[in-house]
């Protein structure tokens, strides 16, 4: 091992960066990518929820809602991604190869297949709605389950995509970023299904209760993963916790998007009665906003994190925790 002196000059101890200039670069990603992260996550989670709901013979209305919503959430994804490319006309180059170590390559293929299954599911549902009869329920269930691996990947790979970079905040969030995104995608999807079925309707009351229970579990998981990530981030999490981004992150994402809906959902069982009215409406809408804002603050905080060479050098110093 080559040695070098730590004590050559006073300046090199105080000022251990190159004029504070960034040492790594952030991608140019902004709102197009943020909205893609949101819709892609929701599409993947909604499809998966629909397929497993069908597999356990849950309320058919949930399955129907999930099929339509998965396709609707998938629809904006390809245009958002294509528009964000530096050379949009070369979008198809994503499908020249498959690279197992590149989350971007894996994600492109997952989106391709998950989108195909989501469209197929919505098409089948539409045909059934128009013909007013069940089409091949046995094989359909299997076909829908075949899309689950791709949809699961789509629901959370964006967290891996960010973590597999050198941006200190994204890197340091590993391995909790992707689970946080998964939890957020699932809770947002359950909210979307709840809203699609209509709140406080007599015939979906039991299903609504079940959806609320699933939503509470997913919100609790998301809260756990995000809090663990924040603790792990420590000082490197400053761009997320403080400043303008912090002003969005705490009230909109952490408290408003996760904590408040979770407490609202839990407040019913705690008092021995059902959550209804405005409380239920809030609990079914807030996670959607929280889910979008989570992806927004993560992207913007990452861009700021790239401008902090001291954070990157702290993570790449030999003494850094591995």
């Amino acid at each position: 091992m080559e040695e070098y002196s730590d004590t050559r000059t006073a300046t090199s101890q105080v000022q251990d960066t190159y004029y504070g200039l960034p040492a790594v670069r952030a991608p140019h990603w902004r709102w197009l990518v943020i909205f893609y992260f949101f819709f892609g996550g929701v599409a993947g989670a909604t499809y998966t929820i629909g397929a497993v709901a069908e597999a356990v013979s849950a309320d058919r209305r949930v399955v129907r809602a999930a099929r339509y919503l998965a396709a609707a959430a998938f629809l904006p994804c390809p245009p958002l991604l294509i528009l964000d490319l530096g050379r949009p006309e070369r979008a198809l180059n994503m499908f020249r190869i498959l690279k197992l170590k590149s989350p971007m390559s894996l994600g492109s293929w997952a989106l391709f297949f998950a989108g195909g299954f989501a469209t197929l599911g919505a098409g089948l549902q539409l045909a059934e709605d128009l013909l007013k009869r069940d089409l091949l329920p046995g094989p359909r269930r299997l076909v829908m389950l075949a899309g689950v691996p791709f949809s699961i990947f789509l629901s959370g790979y964006t967290g891996i995509l960010l973590a597999a970079t050198n941006i200190p905040l994204w890197w340091r969030s590993f391995p909790f970023l992707s689970p946080t995104f998964v939890g957020s995608a699932y809770s947002a999807s359950l909210c979307a299904i709840t809203l699609f079925l209509g709140l406080d309707r007599e015939e979906t009351r039991d299903t609504g209760r079940r959806l609320a229970r699933a939503e509470s579990i997913c919100l609790a998981a998301e809260l756990t993963f995000l809090t663990t990530a924040l603790v792990r981030l420590g000082a490197i999490g400053r761009p997320l916790r403080t400043g303008k981004i912090g002003l969005i992150f705490w009230p909109v994402t952490y408290v408003g998007g996760i904590l408040v809906p979770l407490l609202l959902q839990l407040s019913g069982p705690a008092r021995g009665k059902e959550v209804t009215g405005p409380r239920r409406t809030a609990a079914a809408m807030l996670p959607l906003i929280g889910s979008l804002s989570l992806r927004a603050v993560m992207i913007f905080a990452g861009r700021e994190s790239a401008n902090r060479p001291e954070d990157y050098f702290a993570m790449t110093s030999r003494a850094a925790e591995r």
């Binding site: 091992m1 080559e2 040695e3 070098y4 002196s5 050559r8 000059t9 006073a10 090199s12 251990d16 004029y19 040492a23 790594v24 670069r25 952030a26 140019h28 929820i49 497993v52 709901a53 356990v56 849950a58 490319l85 530096g86 050379r87 070369r90 979008a91 180059n93 994503m94 190869i97 690279k99 197992l100 170590k101 971007m104 390559s105 894996l106 699961i152 990947f153 629901s155 959370g156 790979y157 891996i160 973590a163 597999a164 941006i167 890197w171 391995p175 992707s178 689970p179 998964v182 939890g183 959806l211 229970r213 579990i217 998981a221 993963f225 990157y312 050098f313 790449t316 110093s317 030999r318």
Partner: protein, 268 residues
């Protein structure tokens, strides 16, 4: 440092000896001329002779000027650390591993090159580089929306010429050649400088600057101070080391939440 035994004869690279760099920027100019790169916006830093700040899509050689005021005690002479930075042409390159289109390839010279006719400007190579080298040119006037970086003058190498920067360097601070030869030369130079009392070391080995999945660097540097003073990380990591564990953790989480949802929704 040990000299790698299994480096094929055709592996080409740079050895940049910063101890003889005089900061003339002939390398920057020669690179821009040969590769027909547009000029950058001039931003005066105010504290240094450096006016390009870092490598970019239009600056493939960058001369950094790290000032060490009062080196050797209060009132002492101000020293400059000058260094011509360049793409490291990593043995396992983060940009290449990240590229979803296959635009970034390893050439027959073991260098890393972006195929401009394939790149679609997705930007994923940008945060994947551990050294902040590669950039997608998104500027309105000159930007083509594609990723650019040093090609180690792939076109010149094809014709048996050395890269433009190495050709132009007046002090031979930038040396080009077979990686094995360069590593021997670098080691010799470090020993000579150490005998003269300088804290010289090689940046770009498994132990310093490379390693952790990245391996050795095709462009190595002789440095005289901490790597951070040159805006270089001490011990970076190949970011794709996190892909497979990430997929496993994600899958387990998603399966658990799917089961919990199924349990909540099931009939009965």
């Amino acid at each position: 440092m040990t000299i790698t035994e299994d480096v094929p004869h055709t592996s080409k690279g740079f050895f940049t000896d910063t101890s003889v760099c005089i900061g003339c920027k002939a390398c920057e100019v020669a690179c821009k001329q040969w590769n027909q790169l547009p000029m950058d916006d001039l931003v005066w830093m105010g504290s240094s002779y450096d006016n390009t700040h870092h490598l970019s899509s239009t600056t493939w050689r960058h001369v950094s000027f790290a000032e060490l005021p009062g080196a050797g005690g209060a009132g002492g002479q101000t020293n400059w650390l000058m260094m011509s930075d360049v793409c490291k042409h990593c043995q396992h390159a983060g940009c290449l591993e990240a590229c979803p289109t296959g635009a970034i390839i390893r050439t027959e010279f073991d260098t890393v090159v972006v195929q401009q006719d394939v790149c679609n400007g997705c930007n994923y190579c940008v945060p994947a580089c551990p050294y902040g080298v590669i950039e997608v040119n998104m500027t309105a006037s000159t930007g083509d929306g594609k990723a650019h970086k040093c090609t180690l003058c792939y076109d010149r190498l094809k014709d048996g010429l050395e890269p433009a920067c190495a050709k132009a360097c007046p002090t031979d601070s930038i040396q080009f050649g077979d990686i094995g030869d360069l590593q021997e030369r670098a080691q010799q130079r470090v020993e000579d400088l150490r005998q003269k009392g300088l804290d010289a070391y090689i940046y770009g080995t498994e132990d310093m600057g490379g390693g952790q999945g990245i391996g050795n660097l095709g462009a190595q540097f002789l440095l005289l101070d901490k790597p951070q003073r040159y805006n270089l990380p001490e011990h970076p990591t190949l970011p794709q080391n996190r892909t497979l564990p990430g997929v496993l953790v994600m899958t387990v989480t998603a399966l658990a939440l799917s089961l919990a949802t199924a349990w909540s929704l099931r009939k009965g």
